[in-house]
């Protein structure tokens, strides 16, 4: 199993490599949703060079929902990524697949529409389309992750650590709310300190508005410290998403996972998990959602 991380700077790459990062997921805001950090095209070029020098891999996040006005731009972006010889491209909209097929780079694609990869057949379907891999949806239990991964012939990844997204609207919901109240809103756009609290609940859900719309996240970050030993045997890529965090947090997190895997010690894993329990939890790993009447 490889570890994928979301770096916050070019300078942090070496340090993250030293702490077990195998893959770096990077992107630019124009084509990607909910990045931990948005890099410029020049920076992405540098990142690819630096990461390849360390013999590690670069996955480009291009998971935007595509509208017609984006088509030409994303086609030229994917062309650039082909030239840079990136190792993977993460997508969530089938337009990216269609364009990548024309550019003959569909073998680099990793499908992550966040909510749609939910059963064992999804990787079987996507294998036939010639793509590299697939990220299992966030709402899937550990048991089901095992069953999906067992039958897969393509690279299976999960976002195993980080703040998971739970809502994406195309609408500028924060801007509109303040406009309705005739208040200024500019200071709240792209502001990642905003949180929503529902009237009868205590949890505070991070929310922000950007060029792609409005995004809402879970209150607690997911951690998989007690599951990492098991996961390392069943999935191919474990993604640590650093959104709302920083480089120090990424290093600390990677150190924890490395320690648990090196010592192969469940008790240590439990202790580490306990240490973070105030603002981390196990997400849907053990929580089955209901759907009947």
């Amino acid at each position: 199993m490889k570890f994928a991380v979301t770096p916050f700077s070019i300078e942090s790459i070496n340090n993250l490599c030293n702490h077990g990062a195998d893959i770096f997921v990077v992107g630019t805001e124009e084509f990607s949703n909910r990045l931990a950090h948005s890099f410029t095209m020049d920076e992405i070029e540098t990142l690819v060079t630096v990461i390849h020098q360390r013999e590690k891999e670069v996955y480009i996040s291009a998971n935007m929902i595509v509208h017609h006005s984006d088509l030409e731009k994303i086609e030229s972006f994917l062309g650039e990524m082909k030239k840079l010889e990136v190792d993977g491209i993460i997508f969530g909209d089938l337009a990216v697949y269609q364009i990548a097929k024309r550019l003959e780079i569909q073998h680099l694609l990793i499908y992550n529409p966040e909510t749609l990869n939910t059963n064992y057949f999804d990787p079987i379907f996507w294998d036939k389309k010639g793509i590299k891999g697939l990220t299992i949806s966030k709402e899937i239990t550990l048991n089901d992750i095992k069953k999906i991964a067992e039958k897969s012939t393509i690279e299976i990844s999960i976002i195993g650590h980080g703040h998971l997204n739970m809502f994406h609207s195309r609408r500028p919901l924060i801007e509109n709310f303040f406009k309705y109240n005739k208040d200024s809103f500019e200071q709240y756009i792209e502001n990642r300190n905003l949180k929503l609290v529902e009237e009868i609940r205590d949890e505070a859900y991070p929310i922000f508005q950007d060029i792609h719309g409005t995004h809402i996240f879970r209150d607690k970050a997911l951690e998989s410290y007690q599951e990492i030993i098991t996961l390392s045997k069943i999935i191919d890529v474990f993604i640590v998403d650093g959104i709302f965090k920083d480089t120090n947090y990424m290093i600390e997190t990677m150190k924890n996972y490395q320690l648990i895997l090196q010592n192969n010690d469940p008790l240590q894993a439990t202790n580490i998990s306990k240490h973070y329990e105030s603002d981390h939890d196990s997400g849907f790993l053990y929580k089955k959602t209901v759907y009947d009447k």
Binding site: L94, N119, E139, S169, R170, L194, T289
Partner: protein, 395 residues
């Protein structure tokens, strides 16, 4: 000009009949399995057969939603279920997950439509499914007229567009608020509508929404004004949302769009205010045009829990009419009394008014008012009405 299909929702057999009688060309219904809207009263296989028989008799169609995003636990019985849908004569299924699409393709000849749950926002993704042998796609509700036109120009797939009803404020299928806040899976029919709840908004620790709760709730879609544009573009199917809505809602909305589409296609002068007034009689939440004119503004959002009740109250459903005695047998749907000014709403004629003179039960007792839900009553109506016509109060 291609006359588009008018597609209506039906939560049960009665609503299905109403939708078709009031002018829908096709209806979509949920089965007991593999369908979202688990709480809508869903159809079992014998009822789906009845639905198909009723629709086909009228030369109309029935589509069944099999649009959950299934987990491993939800797959058992899929092939047998799809085969039984084919057997009872279902005209198409509406799908969102590869396993359902591929199983339908390999085990049946069912026509496949792609659900709006996968948020198709561009012609490239539409063409992906067209190349997979899919007949029709339901477009994302986030598209403007301009985008729909551009899409039409770049695909051979049939396209279906929502014209009326409730809207997810998120991209459909990409929201798990409900999963996280209530453990109910939105993509498997458990949506708790958490986007319609009240919230406080904080910047760090400071509350910034002042007196009014932060709200992200969407108004319902209403697109009377844009139907002629959608017809000009060449949209194949115009879809009304609302499998949970009442028979009166279905009848009113379906019939308004039916008359509008017919009038446009017959090149008649279109009196928009008339249709707007008519469709408003079913309104139970404020409406807007959604994304049709481009990015949404404050006018597409619900703030301060603003809502309006329907201005017209549905009081009775006609069961039969005796032309010799000018007497209708009417099933009570809401309280009414002798002396009330009412109107008959019918798929067969323009709305006609009359006054309720006398209410008599089936044992010939004269009543001062109709108090009991679903009670059958005899009422004098001075003009011919038919089964499924509706009586509503004028306020």
């Amino acid at each position: 000009m291609i006359k588009p299909e008018l597609l209506a929702p039906a939560g049960d057999l009665e609503k299905l009949k109403i939708a078709l009688v009031y002018g829908a060309d096709a209806v979509f219904i949920g089965g007991k399995k593999f369908s979202l809207r688990a709480r809508a009263s869903n159809f079992d296989i014998p009822e789906i057969k009845k639905a198909c028989d009723f629709a086909h008799e009228m030369g109309k169609k029935v589509y069944v939603t099999t649009n959950i995003i299934p987990h491993n636990d939800n797959i058992e019985g899929l092939e047998a279920y799809l085969k039984s849908l084919e057997e009872v004569g279902v005209d198409a299924i509406i799908c969102a997950s590869p396993i359902i699409i591929e199983t339908a393709k390999s085990a049946t000849n069912l026509e496949i439509h792609i659900s709006t749950q996968v948020s198709l926002t561009n012609y490239e993704s539409v063409n992906f499914w067209y190349d997979e042998g899919v007949k029709r796609v339901v477009l994302a509700r986030e598209l403007s007229l301009e985008e729909i036109k551009d899409l039409r120009d770049h695909t051979q797939s049939d396209i279906e567009v929502f014209i009326h009803g409730g809207m997810c404020v998120s991209y459909s299928g990409r929201c798990t608020l409900s999963n996280n806040m209530t453990d109910r899976d939105a993509n498997r029919g458990g949506c708790a509508h958490s986007c319609r709840w009240n919230y406080d908004l904080y910047d760090g620790d400071e509350k910034i929404n002042n007196d009014m709760s932060f709200s992200m709730s969407s108004k319902d879609l209403q697109s009377v004004k844009y139907i002629s544009n959608l017809i000009d573009i060449g949209v194949n199917s115009l879809k009304i949302e609302g499998r949970m809505k009442s028979v009166h809602y279905i009848a009113t909305v379906v019939n308004t769009y039916r008359r509008l589409i017919d009038d446009i296609c017959d090149n008649l002068d279109i009196d928009l205010p008339k249709y707007l007034l008519e469709v408003k009689k079913a309104e139970n939440r404020l409406t807007s045009h959604g994304f049709i004119e481009g990015m949404t503004t404050i006018d597409e959002q619900l703030y301060n829990m603003r809502s309006e009740n329907p201005s017209q109250e549905f009081i009775g459903l006609v069961q039969e009419y005796d032309e010799d005695n000018f007497t209708a047998i009417v099933q009570q749907r809401n309280f009414f009394a002798a002396g009330d000014e009412v109107e008959v709403f019918s798929p067969n004629f323009e709305t006609l008014k009359f006054k309720i003179e006398e209410i008599v039960d089936l044992e010939d007792n004269v009543l001062d008012a109709a108090r009991h839900p679903l009670q059958l009553l005899k009422i004098f109506i001075p003009f011919k009405v038919s089964k499924y016509d509706m009586i509503r109060k004028i306020q």
